[in-house]
């Protein structure tokens, strides 16, 4: 059945597709090692964040934190804003997004189309300025509701209740799950579910390693670890640089015809690493990984064309995942 009462009901149940050309070749007689991509770009607004946005809004409604006409405030420059904008529109809320003024025009246009209002924080001040702007807005509007995806248990629960069961249903022989590490919600929720159901499963995180400019702003005593993060859910954690992420992003569309954003390239890089280890060890492996979104919103970076070095330059200083 592919008929739904509304767009919100069409969230989740995304396809899991095999990657016969990218999966490593195993020696004759050796157990198979296969890669599988879960296409989260097939969600209503085109990213995995639809799941978390829907669950966080429903949880806030159930708890009485959100009432029709309320305003949701979300500091985001990414997919969560777009997902929340859609959910807010359909459930009758106003959404205000705070973001740095240097985000891509696609993001801004998409958010406005979905009906979100945007408050820009000056790019020049970096994260310190973003924090200052955010504090000021929160102080001026104490009635606005912040869902705080980095610490909202409904974010991880969305994946515990949907992404995890879907993966197990579609791939009962799963041996590895690989996802991107941002809010950590996808890995925590899916990882917990799969650990309960599949003995010996490996939960593998791929985190983006940005250009130096991004880290340059950070003081080591003021780092951020999302409240949802629980290291015991993970088996391994890889740091994937810009060049490898771009390389894999291009490979995925060239070899398998799947057009993804750069965060998925980073995830594929880690998935291939564990797949090749399995081949080396002569072990069977079904490695499922998350395609967080399609590449459309990132075309204006210019990083899909030219040499890898040019792409790396184009993404230097950007939070590409």
């Amino acid at each position: 059945m592919a008929r739904y009462e509304s767009l919100l009901d069409a969230c989740g149940n995304t396809p899991l597709v095999g990657l016969p050309r990218l999966s490593p070749v195993v020696p004759e007689g050796a157990p198979p090692v296969r890669l599988w991509a879960k296409l989260e770009d097939r969600n209503p607004t085109g990213s995995v964040k639809d799941r978390a946005a829907l669950f966080m809004v429903r949880a806030a409604e159930a708890a009485g934190r959100l009432r029709p006409g309320d305003t949701i405030l979300e500091p985001t420059s990414g997919n969560t804003g777009i997902s929340l904008a859609m959910v807010a529109k359909l459930r009758g809320y106003r959404l205000v997004c705070v973001m740095p003024e240097n985000v891509s025009t696609e993001r801004v246009q998409l958010l406005r189309m979905y009906g979100a209002e945007i408050i820009f924080s000056p790019a020049a001040g970096g994260s310190n300025q973003a924090v200052a702007t955010a504090k000021q807005i929160a102080a001026e509007h104490p009635d606005w509701v912040m869902l705080f995806q980095y610490g909202n248990e409904a974010n991880a629960r969305a994946h515990y209740e949907t992404t995890g069961p879907e993966l197990l249903r579609d791939l009962p022989t799963i041996t590895h799950f690989v996802g991107g590490l941002g809010t950590t919600g996808t890995l925590m929720g899916t990882g917990r579910y799969l650990r309960e159901k599949v003995e010996g499963i490996e939960i593998v995180a791929a985190e983006p390693r940005y250009g130096e400019l991004v880290y340059g702003l950070r003081n080591i005593d003021e780092g951020y670890v999302p409240e949802l993060y629980d290291a015991s859910v993970l088996s391994r954690r890889f740091s994937v640089g810009t060049r490898d992420a771009v390389l894999r992003t291009r490979q995925l569309v060239e070899v398998e015809g799947i057009f993804v954003g750069f965060s998925t390239g980073a995830v594929l890089h880690a998935a291939l690493a564990v797949a090749h280890e399995a081949v080396k060890a002569g072990r069977r492996a079904d490695v499922a990984f998350i395609v967080a979104d399609g590449g459309w919103k990132y075309l204006s970076t210019g990083a899909y064309g030219g040499t890898l070095a040019e792409a790396e330059d184009a993404l230097e200083g950007q939070l590409w995942a």
Binding site: P75, A132, M146, G216, Y224, V225
Partner: protein
């Protein structure tokens, strides 16, 4: 051969501005002691007085997080690359701003 250690911008004041330095050691703990002898104070920024890795520091051996490889006991070999980075959540802007707002409410 030695172990290449990549230093984040924020800690380069300990290495005379060098982006990458060389060190030696059979474990991460050994390597950090070796580095501290040459770059005094560096170890203290990475390891807490209790002897664990600082919560907001991530250290990777050949791109894999050492916390899943034994942390300070992680084994090292000549030719390995060790990368030190401050912890930054994906969508770091959102998190920085969100955390600040939440703090404002409490």
């Amino acid at each position: 051969m030695a172990i290449e250690v990549r230093i984040p911008t924020i800690l380069r004041n300990y290495t005379g501005g060098a982006k990458a330095v060389e060190g030696a050691g059979e474990s991460l703990a050994d390597l950090l002691s070796d580095l501290d002898a040459k770059y005094s104070g560096l170890r203290g920024r990475l390891v807490t007085p209790e002897g664990g890795l600082h919560r907001f520091v991530n250290v990777y051996v050949n791109d894999e997080d050492v916390r899943f490889l034994g942390a300070l006991d992680a084994k090292l070999s000549d030719g390995d690359t060790v990368t030190i980075l401050p912890a930054v959540a994906g969508g770091a802007f959102g998190f920085a701003a969100a955390a600040a707002m939440l703090g404002n409410r409490l």
